[in-house]
């Protein structure tokens, strides 16, 4: 019972930080969907089906936080690559500060 509750809690917070995590990965540099999923898996584990990244990325594009373009890598097929816009970077910066503050406060509460 406790294990299930813990798993559920972990799953919930991993999902809730997904948008920030996607922005953070894109903040390191442009990426395509699969590359993003791999980077996110390293940080969050396989928290959600990877297809759910696409509505999120579509929303970022719509809101002007990211732009997408098809790029041709040195090898392999053309890929749709996402990059943060200046607005996306500003949102990431602000959200990171909020996250740090919240994490600090929660840390105090938990200690």
């Amino acid at each position: 019972m406790m294990d299930e509750t813990l798993k559920d809690l972990e799953k919930r917070w991993r999902k809730s930080v997904l948008p920030l995590a996607v922005l953070a990965v894109l903040g390191k540099g442009p990426s395509h969907g699969y590359g993003l999923a791999v980077a996110l898996r390293e940080v969050l584990g396989a928290a959600t089906p990877e297809g759910t990244l696409y509505p999120l990325l579509n929303g970022f594009e719509r809101d002007g936080l990211a732009v997408a373009e098809w790029t041709i890598p040195e090898s392999g097929p053309a890929r749709k690559t996402y990059a943060l816009t200046a607005e996306g970077r500003a949102v990431l910066s602000e959200a990171s500060a909020q996250w740090s503050q919240m994490s600090l406060n929660l840390g105090k509460l938990l200690s």
Partner: protein, 201 residues
């Protein structure tokens, strides 16, 4: 390999074919170029997952059920298209598609539909006024109450006179423009991963 149709394993090819048939069904309301873009992106992702997992069913499970993530994406693209083109057919597609994205989508689509119905009613009243001025318009009745008439004459004085039809058309146009712009920008995506199936990890 750039497409799943090149897969050597017949079972993997069949699994991909079944999966992407479902993808196609969901992408059908989108314009061809937009649908192709989404499909190609998902195909490449699925092939990368296949290379990683080695099994088609595991790879496609990692990507998730199209039913869980495509309706939101499609509805959002259709709403944005409608808010840019203002074409009634695009508005209709956007409403129909959004209504299939869950409770919030149904509520927003219903409200939008009600608003568009009001706009249509204003157009009808404007036309009716041009055809039958004596029964359509804003009338002040003998007891002082205002009466918005459509095909019914209760007597009284005509308040707006010849301005009724242009005003009705203006109200309809404003309502249509405002609703379409608002509908194109409304956000009611569910949080990522809040799906009914395929939770992994």
């Amino acid at each position: 390999m750039t497409t799943w149709t090149d897969l050597a394993d017949p079972a993997a090819r069949a699994a991909f074919a079944a999966y992407f048939a479902r993808v196609e069904r969901h992408l059908a309301p989108l314009p061809d170029a937009s649908a192709r873009e989404v499909r190609e992106e998902l195909e490449l992702h699925a092939l990368d997952l296949l290379a990683e997992e080695g099994r088609a069913d595991a790879a496609l499970a990692r990507l998730g059920a199209p039913e869980d993530f495509l309706p939101d994406l499609v509805a959002e693209r259709l709403r944005l298209r409608a808010s840019k083109s203002f074409a009634p057919s695009h508005v209709f597609s956007a409403i129909a598609s959004s209504a299939r994205t869950g409770l919030a989508g149904i509520i927003v689509s219903t409200l939008a539909g009600f608003g568009y119905a009001l706009a249509a009613l204003a157009v009808v009243m404007g036309i009716a006024r041009l055809v039958a001025a004596e029964t359509t318009g804003l009338f002040r009745l003998q007891d002082g109450r205002l009466f918005l008439g459509l095909g019914e004459n209760l007597g009284g004085s005509d308040v707006l006179g010849v301005w009724f039809a242009p005003l009705a058309f203006a109200v309809a146009a404003c309502l249509y423009l405002i609703l379409t712009l608002a509908f194109g920008r409304v956000k009611f995506r569910k949080p990522p991963g809040e799906d009914k199936a395929n939770m992994t990890g």
